[in-house]
């Protein structure tokens, strides 16, 4: 078996409950602490697992149990307070995908900017530019400032860019809940294609059908802990028995 592409060892991250809490300089500069202060809670604690290349993993759990935080840790946009996150290959995160787009720039400029920030060179982007625009179905708006697009179009172009990044690891949060049905189906087909191309997938969803469609392995998060790491059907069965409605 080859080396895992994602390794989490004893990962924990804590947040403050209220943003207005008092904060001192000493607090800010303190090295990583294992104890929590009043007003803080562990969003995730003692999470350890490894992922092999090409695996498709579904993350299951109720709202606020740390699913998105887990994805952000793997992306590297937040850092753990304890333990370590090791990701050996590039990540294409479909989290807050429209975040990187600038209102005042045109669609074209935004495509070059976002893809560039994820490490693509100008030439690579130019090669894929037409494909990206065609996928998002906004050929008529290439030189329109981003702020004038409809919200559906914004998500479409963002998905089109990130899914063309050619990164070996794909992280999908519940972003695809927006957008019309036809486009969602198109996105899902694209994800399936990527999976067939050997990508590693991390998928967060509440939709059981989607989870079963893409994923083979499941991670069940509850109260900030990794409760079960097993094939997706087992994970879903446990989740349903604890919180779900009985399958009809």
């Amino acid at each position: 078996m080859s080396a895992p592409v994602i390794t989490l060892t004893g990962v924990g991250i804590r947040f403050r409950r209220n943003r207005r809490g008092r904060r001192s300089f000493k607090d800010l500069f303190a090295a990583r602490r294992r104890r929590i202060r009043p007003g803080e809670f562990w969003a995730l604690r003692d999470v350890s697992f490894t992922v092999q290349r090409g695996e498709a993993i579904g993350v299951v759990g109720r709202n606020g149990q740390g699913k998105s935080t887990l994805l952000k840790l793997v992306t590297g946009v937040v850092l753990p307070d304890e333990g370590s996150v090791r990701v050996t290959e590039g990540v294409a995160p479909l989290i807050e995908i429209t975040g990187g787009f600038v209102d005042d720039l045109t669609v074209r400029e935004n495509v070059y900017l976002t893809a560039g920030l994820h490490g693509m060179t100008r030439r690579q982007i130019a090669d894929r530019f037409d494909e990206i625009i065609a996928f998002a179905e906004i050929a008529d708006f290439v030189d329109t400032p981003y702020k004038h697009l409809s919200s559906g179009m914004k998500v479409r172009i963002a998905f089109a860019v990130i899914s063309r990044l050619e990164e070996p690891i794909l992280l999908v949060d519940e972003v695809l809940a927006v957008g019309d049905k036809a486009f969602r189906e198109k996105c899902y087909r694209r994800i399936e294609e990527l999976l067939a191309g050997g990508r590693t997938l991390f998928f967060v969803s509440h939709n059981e059908r989607d989870l079963k469609r893409f994923c083979t392995r499941g991670l069940y998060l509850d109260k900030g802990a990794l409760v079960l790491d097993a094939p997706i059907t087992e994970v879903l069965a446990l989740y349903n028995s604890q919180y779900g409605i009985k399958p009809a």
Partner: protein
């Protein structure tokens, strides 16, 4: 080992991951690439939303220089600085605009870009350094204006002009260092944003911009030396006024700048984790 999947036939235009992924470049090359992209974006946004983008970035220091020139040559009898006074003013005022613009923008470096920072993984120091770079480019673009005034006012360019790159280097280090301290702290202490603006206004008069360090009373000169901007501006002014150059001040300025950068890097790395959670 790698294998199987890589040689799989492409399905419907989708390549397997190893084929067309972004080139694995060195960390440094990737850093430079991202930094340059964001700097370009800054400049592009600024100039695509206003027709007179470049003109505005020049106009601000020009108006200020015009006011001080009027006050100190037409209203009062000027006893400080060198002749021609407008060149004396501009040679410190233009670098000051770079310093002032970067530090005041750094107060919003994280808050304004929160969405982008939450979705990309690029090294976080870029959010400060891109401000240093884009304002620095504006500064370099404003140098022709300084030369224009020098020619019009009949100032002679001395051999000290060769020190310009050194001055730019010191200022880059100093500005980046202060930016790295200010940017993360403002995220936690929002009041700091106003405090920084106030300090900058004080610093404008506490630095040798409308005067030269030599014009200060002797007992103040010692303390003015600790202002890293004193040595810096004397270095810039050496291009037209060789007598303004004071190597002791320059040395203090260089040492202070490096110190600021070291402190900045320490503050930045220690607070990075908390900043990412807060924004």
């Amino acid at each position: 080992m790698r294998g199987g999947a890589r040689r799989a036939p492409t399905i419907d235009g989708v390549s397997s991951y190893a084929e067309v992924r972004p080139e694995q470049r060195t960390t440094f090359a990737r850093y430079r690439h991202s930094l340059w992209l964001l700097t370009q974006r800054d400049l592009r946004v600024r100039y695509s939303t206003s027709m007179l983008g470049y003109f505005w970035s020049i106009l601000d220091p020009l108006v200020m220089a015009g006011i001080y020139w009027f006050v100190f040559t037409q209203v009062f009898q000027r006893t400080v600085g060198n002749e021609p006074y407008i060149v004396f003013l501009l040679s410190a005022l233009l670098p000051w605009m770079w310093f002032n613009g970067t530090v005041s923008d750094c107060t919003r470096a994280f808050l304004r870009e929160a969405k982008l920072i939450r979705s990309t993984r690029i090294p976080r120091t870029i959010w400060v350094n891109r401000l240093v770079l884009s304002k620095g480019i504006e500064f370099v673009a404003s140098i022709p204006v300084l030369l224009l005034f020098a020619v019009a006012a009949g100032a002679e360019v001395s051999a000290g002009a060769a020190l310009f790159p050194l001055a730019i280097l010191i200022q880059t280090i100093l500005t980046a260092g202060i930016g790295l301290i200010v940017a993360p702290l403002v995220v936690f202490f929002r009041d700091l944003e106003r405090a920084v603006k106030l300090i900058l206004r004080f610093l404008f008069y506490a630095s040798p911009i409308i005067y030269g360090t030599a014009d200060l009373p002797a007992e103040l000169q010692f303390w003015a030396g600790f202002n890293p901007l004193s040595g810096l501006f004397s270095l810039y002014r050496a291009a037209f006024f060789p007598e303004q150059l004071d190597w002791t001040l320059v040395l203090i300025s260089a040492v202070m700048s490096v110190l600021f950068l070291v402190v900045g890097l320490v503050v930045f790395t220690r607070t990075e984790r908390a900043v990412l959670k807060e924004i």
